[in-house]
């Protein structure tokens, strides 16, 4: 599941790039699942933590987004469940690659932003 704007250059359009940039909710879900398979509520809790992106997801947003991530083959159900009301999800290979690509994109942007904001902060 990617959010607009998508890449416009067909030459550079890898399967991962087509999903970038990610919305905050999608990034938080992928990040939570990168630590291993989880059920919905565990994803919600992880996303709300500082190392999960501090993204507050409600059940409606969470499961709607998960549906679209499954449709886009970034996430899949494990098939394992201890209860019909708690289904477990994990990242697919594509999901891992998309998360890595998004992390690299954000790192590059941060690499540019950090010195600039530090300079401005020093001037202030």
């Amino acid at each position: 599941m990617a959010s607009s704007p998508r890449t416009l250059d067909p030459e550079s359009a890898s399967p991962e790039a087509a999903h970038l940039p990610l919305s905050a909710a999608v990034l938080a879900i992928l990040l939570a699942l990168s630590g291993g398979e989880k059920h919905g509520y565990a994803i919600m809790k992880q996303a709300a933590l500082p190392d999960g992106g501090c993204v507050k997801l409600g059940p409606g947003t969470l499961y709607g987004t998960l549906d679209r991530l499954i449709r886009d083959s970034l996430v899949e159900e494990t098939g394992f469940t201890d209860d019909a009301r708690r289904r477990y999800y994990r990242l697919t290979n594509l999901g891992h690659r998309v998360l890595a690509a998004e992390t690299a994109r954000l790192s590059a942007a941060l690499g540019v932003a950090r010195p600039r904001t530090a300079l401005r902060g020093a001037r202030a």
């Binding site: 919905g40 507050k56 059940p59 409606g60 947003t61 499961y63 549906d67 009301r85």
Partner: protein
Amino acid sequence: MSRPNPALFALYRRALVLYPAHVRTRNQAQMLQTVRDADAERSYSAARFWLYLFTDLLQSVAQENLLMVRSQFSARPIFFHAVILGIILTGMGGAASLVFQQMLRRGANQPQIQMAETGSSALSTGSDPHSLIPASLIDVAQSLEPFAVFYSDSGAPVTSSGYLDDAIPVPPTGVFAFVRNRGEDRITWQPQPGVRIAAVIQRVGGSHPGFILAGRSLRVVEEQEDLFWKMVFGAWLALVVLLMVGATLLARAQIAPTAVARAQG
């Protein structure tokens, strides 16, 4: 383990019906379980918790329904184009109908404009109001005949060819104030429930200062307007049906060659 507030939990469960069916069927049990889990571990007030849940629910309901509509339209673009065409034609037809309705209403001011102008001119040049507007007994509530009334400078009725319940009808005082400043006013006047008059009022100067009002019942015009709007609605309904039938036939015609090609292949 604590249980969520039963009333709010029941309301939340019922509100899930707002999601598109496929989303609800797939996620309902998980969502309710997540609410139970979150409530059991919440560290802040119940009011804040439920407010957040219902806000999230409304936002995601809107998003999911919007996505469903978008995907339905993109799956059937002919219907999408039919709806857009329908909206454009409705807008154009609506604007044209409003213009026509206004023309119909403005047409109802004749012959009152002519009567008021002639009367005002005659009275200003010294004609006697009583001889110009001979008292007759046109029942304003029943008759379709035009009538005229002369009012003094203070707005008191002097003479009239039309009566309502055996009295000369008098418009609101604000009308006289307006005409005093502007010289003329054209109004739809309802002197009593069920009686609507297309009235033209002009200022009269000279030796008999005052106001002359020429009016006529709007009964026939409003019947025509009613009929007109019924016809417009009928035409609009026919247009919608025609567009939907056309779109359905076109969609089938597009599917048919694909099916034939698949069968041949």
